[in-house]
């Protein structure tokens, strides 16, 4: 069941790397697209099989692997992971779709993407800490290669920075995992039997800090984010989609799964500072994005801002806030994907990403009207305009967090406003205005290049209008996760969960 999500892409990667060298890039792409399509369909099938009324793990799989290390092949999905798995296979498919039809070294490119996809699926489904870590570290080298071979001008530097940061993050996470498992006296890394109740509070806080720092690099949270602008900007559009859409979610997923759920007591102690941290991250991301002159950098910093909300919601840890956090993870994934895709199209057609050079793309005949329209839609979704999924997620987050942390929540609302500011700047400078008549001879945008954006836009609008499809999967799971956390501060009253 879940294994298919991991092994089908990995097998596909092997198949693609063995395709004959003479095969043109477009056929390799088609093969990859087919494989990713099958994975996506299988994932949707699993989603339909998923019983939303059960709080625990479903679709479990177990195989003994290595008893000496306490490592077992143990998979499972709950409301949190099933959505992330879907996001992963959806964005993999979109990323392959949005890749250039004449990519250089196509076999290597697509097999790396599929390998990453399988690895991420493994990390989301793993119910064993060491197995999670194995899949987590599996992203390291493929992503390094994806950035450094098919990236922009400064790709060598960006890829190395990404590599080092992620390796440090991995080391921190491994150290914490070893520590947690050994200190609790457990003999294996099984997630479901692990309990940190016996540990002293100080120890729990130290371990939780290790988790937060380790995953905070990946999310990324503010002082740990400096790899992100370089990596996102230098990566090509499909890779940026995967980096921002999927890999960042691995960080937030890790914080929720291994921070919040494993260390409930320490979590409730650290929650106020985490909420502040999230708010600072959100404000910082927004303010820095305003200052950028490059649209891809703007989108990259917007990503930092939007991940701050998730931390805030996780810190508040009311059932509502947690649903919001999961919804925000999904909607940020698809919104970032549409933005990166469109920015990639604009860059490919116009040849620049500079705000000072772009102008008047809305112009119906010689500009890129459809792309601009979709860009406006994406920007609005990102800024939290009602009717689109970004608004739903952010609103649930704010609603769920306000009663616990009013001031950080208000700061995040301000950050949300600032998001609108820089997206208006972005849209104003790129879409509106007049085209430069001497330079504006842009190539036509092919239908296949618009397709991913159409799909994502439809999804954004649909989930914005029918938010139940976004939140229903995680309601019981988040209620169960929150139930384990001791109340934070005295203001906590009984929260009204969505499903009650």
């Amino acid at each position: 069941m879940l294994s298919t999500l991991i092994w089908l892409p990995i097998l596909g990667a092997a198949v693609i790397s063995l395709l004959p060298r003479s095969l043109p890039a477009i056929n390799v792409r088609l093969t990859a697209l087919t494989i990713a399509g099958f994975v996506l369909l299988w994932n949707i099938f699993l989603l339909l099989k998923f019983d939303i009324s059960l709080p625990g793990m479903q679709l479990r799989e177990y195989l003994p692997w290595n008893e000496t290390l306490g490592l077992s092949y143990q998979l499972g999905a709950d409301g949190l992971s099933i959505i992330m798995l879907l996001l992963n296979s959806l964005l993999t498919w979109i990323a392959i779709y949005s890749s250039n039809q004449t990519t250089e070294r196509p076999r290597f490119f697509y097999s790396l993407i599929l390998l990453v996809s399988g690895g991420v699926a493994g990390a989301f489904a793993a119910q064993n800490l060491l197995l999670f870590f194995l899949f987590y570290e599996l992203e390291l080298i493929p992503f390094y290669l994806l950035i450094s071979i098919w990236g922009g001008e400064k790709r060598t530097y960006a890829a190395m920075k990404f590599l080092i940061y992620t390796a440090v993050s991995g080391a921190l996470i491994l150290a914490t995992f070893l520590g947690t498992v050994w200190l609790t006296g457990s003999t294996n890394f099984d997630y479901n039997t692990l309990s940190t109740q016996t540990l002293s509070t100080a120890l729990q806080i130290i371990l939780l800090l290790g988790i937060l720092l380790g995953f905070g690099i990946k999310i990324p949270l503010v002082p740990l984010h400096t790899w992100l602008p370089d990596a996102y900007v230098e990566a090509s559009a499909p890779i940026a989609i995967l980096l921002g859409g999927v890999l960042a979610k691995l960080g937030t997923y890790g914080v929720l799964r291994f921070g919040m759920a494993l260390f409930p007591e320490a979590w409730s102690i650290l929650a106020p500072s985490l909420a502040t941290w999230g708010a600072v991250s959100a404000i910082y991301g927004a303010v820095t994005a305003i200052a950028q002159k490059d649209i891809k950098r703007m989108v990259a910093y917007s990503s930092i801002g939007h991940m701050g909300y998730i931390l805030l919601a996780a810190a508040a840890s009311t059932p509502l806030a947690l649903i919001g956090a999961i919804a925000q993870m999904f909607s940020h994934g698809i919104i970032l994907a549409i933005l990166f895709h469109l920015v990639g199209v604009v860059e490919a057609k116009v040849g620049t990403r500079e705000l000072d050079k772009l102008n008047g793309l809305m112009s119906p005949i010689r500009g890129l009207p459809l792309i601009s329209a979709l860009l406006i839609l994406g920007g609005m979704a990102s800024a939290g305009i009602p009717g689109m999924t970004g608004f739903i997620a952010e609103f649930i987050v704010f609603q769920g967090s306000f009663s616990i942390f009013p001031i950080p929540t208000l700061l995040c609302v301000v950050a949300s406003g600032l998001t609108a500011v820089y997206f208006v700047i972005l849209l104003n400078r790129t879409c509106f205005g007049r085209l430069d008549n001497d330079l504006a001879y842009y190539p036509k945008v092919l239908l296949s290049e618009k397709m991913p954006a159409f799909i994502l836009a439809a999804l954004i609008l649909f989930l914005g209008v029918q938010p139940n499809w976004l939140v229903r999967w995680s309601e019981t799971t988040s209620a169960a996760m929150v139930a384990a956390i001791p109340p934070i501060e005295k203001t906590v009253t009984t929260q009204v969960a969505l499903n009650q």
Partner: protein, 515 residues
């Protein structure tokens, strides 16, 4: 003493694997004398067959009920079997690599193999030696053969320099080791067997004396030289750069494994009373090795020098298991050394292949290789990434086990340092991968532009290819299918009486009672 008693005291069946190696060694020499250079076509395979037969013989001695042989001079327990297997296997793969390399350098293959087999013999005996003179003799057999191998390409001034340097440092460290050993002999009142020394020292009250500590330090200096632990590492980069590449492949795996075997046996049997002291010393060595090996490797431009510093760093990782001093700790060492055999030999096979085809081993010259030689690129990338501990390759599991065992034994600082230096090591390993894989065709180095047509049909290339592919497969899947190796490593420790906590406790208890 009648014959039956003598035979049972000798128990000569234990050294059957070594016997096979000796016969092979003589066979190689005699065949070469009779047939001359014409024999070099198949003499390598003869030696490999001998080594494999020796490994098979080792297999039949597994869990032997009566491992003590030669009146206690040699202990054929499971620990020794694992290490003898590692040494023999590394020699076998080294021969696969060296057939073409030695031929191309214009020297005789049979002599090379003969010296290599002598070194193997020394290493195998060292793995099981449990008597001071025996230890010294096998150590010297290994060392002298290594000096000869290092300077084997004698027209190359760098090889000469390396041999001289290795000899000078090696001889002096052996002298230091010998001095420590003679102190042990004196302290124990004339015992040469390791277990007898331990109990004599315990009963005679020298348990914590300065003499014992000095003996310990001197012995550690000798061991540290063999495993190239940090303050005793200085020979490593120069020897690795100057010596023929197959030789350093053997030195980095076989010789190092023998050194670790000696370390485990000597330290646990002879020095249980100063266990805290030697653990402290090895903690220091591990810290220095991990930091120095991994940080200095960042700045290397030659592939062989980079691998030299990397092997210093890797020795540091292995020492975590030694310092942990638990059963899991020793088992993780055995496991890591087994894995290390595959990844290092795979890496060196690729380095040899590249230098055979292009005549250089500068890292910068590897750029753009993926287009010309995909197999070499794949092999070197996989082995280097495995050395860096990237999942799901073998090295990842090896490191996890080392760190896990270290953490269980409370060595938090060492494990954290190991994690940090692993991150550092990823940087310099990936630098080579970047050169080979990431560089565009127009950034190709001149050497790669003129890369010869990849052909395996030239004499001596086929065994190199076989060795490369086998170690490559082992490096890729030995992690995922690691259960048999884990079982092997764990059993080798669990079946070894000297490493059982009960024996250590009883010696200590008897020591306390006698004081």
């Amino acid at each position: 003493m009648d014959f039956a008693n003598l035979a049972s005291a000798l128990n000569a069946g234990t050294i059957l694997p070594e016997g096979i190696v000796i016969v092979t060694l003589l066979g190689v020499l005699i065949v070469d004398l009779i047939l001359g250079r014409t024999s070099s076509r198949w003499i390598g395979y003869l030696a490999i067959a001998g080594l494999l037969a020796s490994i098979v013989a080792l297999f039949f001695e597994w869990e032997s009920t009566n491992p003590i042989s030669f009146g206690g001079a040699f202990n054929g327990d499971d620990l020794s079997i694992v290490f003898r297997g590692i040494v023999a296997l590394s020699a076998a793969v080294t021969i696969l690599m060296s057939i073409r390399y030695v031929e191309q350098s214009g020297t005789a293959l049979a002599e090379f193999i003969a010296i290599l087999l002598t070194a193997t013999l020394g290493g195998m005996f060292l793995s099981g030696a449990s008597e001071l003179v025996m230890i010294f003799i096998s150590l010297e057999t290994l060392s002298i053969s290594s000096y000869l191998l290092t300077g084997y390409t004698k027209r190359d001034p760098r090889s000469n320099e390396a041999a001289l340097k290795y000899l000078l440092i090696g001889a002096s460290s052996t002298a230091v080791f010998l001095y420590g050993v003679s102190l042990l002999y004196g302290l124990s009142g004339g015992e040469t067997q390791l277990s007898a020394i331990a109990s004599e020292i315990a009963t005679s009250g020298f348990g914590q004396s300065l003499g014992l500590v000095i003996a310990l330090v001197f012995v550690v200096a000798g061991i540290g030289f063999k495993i190239s632990a940090a303050p005793f590492h200085q020979w490593t980069p120069d020897v690795y750069e100057g010596a023929p590449t197959p030789v350093i492949a053997f030195l980095s795996v076989g010789s190092k494994a023998a050194g670790f075997a000696l370390a485990i046996r000597l330290l646990t049997t002879t020095f249980p009373l100063v266990a805290d002291e030697w653990k402290f010393v090895f903690t220091a060595l591990a810290i220095l090795s991990m930091v120095l090996g991994n940080v200095v490797a960042l700045a290397q431009t030659s592939m062989k020098r980079m691998l030299a510093y990397s092997s210093i760093g890797q020795a540091g990782f292995v020492m975590i298991g030694l310092v942990a001093g638990t059963e899991a700790g020793y088992a993780s060492m055995v496991f890591y050394l087994l894995i290390y055999l595959f990844m290092n030999l795979c890496g060196f096979s690729c380095v040899i292949l590249f230098s055979l085809r292009t005549g250089t081993d500068q890292i910068a010259e590897y750029s753009g290789l993926y287009q010309k030689d995909p197999l070499l690129t794949l092999g070197l990338s996989i082995s280097l990434l495995s050395l860096g501990g990237i999942p799901p390759l073998a090295g990842f599991f090896g490191k996890i086990y080392l760190f896990w065992a270290g953490w269980q034994a409370g060595q938090y600082g060492l494990v954290l340092l190991g994690l940090v230096t692993t991150v550092v090591s990823i940087y310099y390993y990936i630098r080579v991968v970047r050169m080979m894989v990431v560089k565009e065709p127009h950034e190709m180095s001149d050497v790669v532009k003129n890369y010869p047509q990849v052909s395996w049909s030239l004499p001596g290339y086929r065994p190199l290819q076989v060795g490369l592919v086998m170690t490559l497969i082992a490096t890729s899947i030995a992690g995922i299918l690691s259960n048999p190796i884990f079982t092997l490593a764990n059993n080798s420790i669990a079946h070894t009486s000297i490493l059982q906590p009960t024996t250590v406790v009883t010696t200590q208890v008897s020591a306390v009672n006698n004081e």
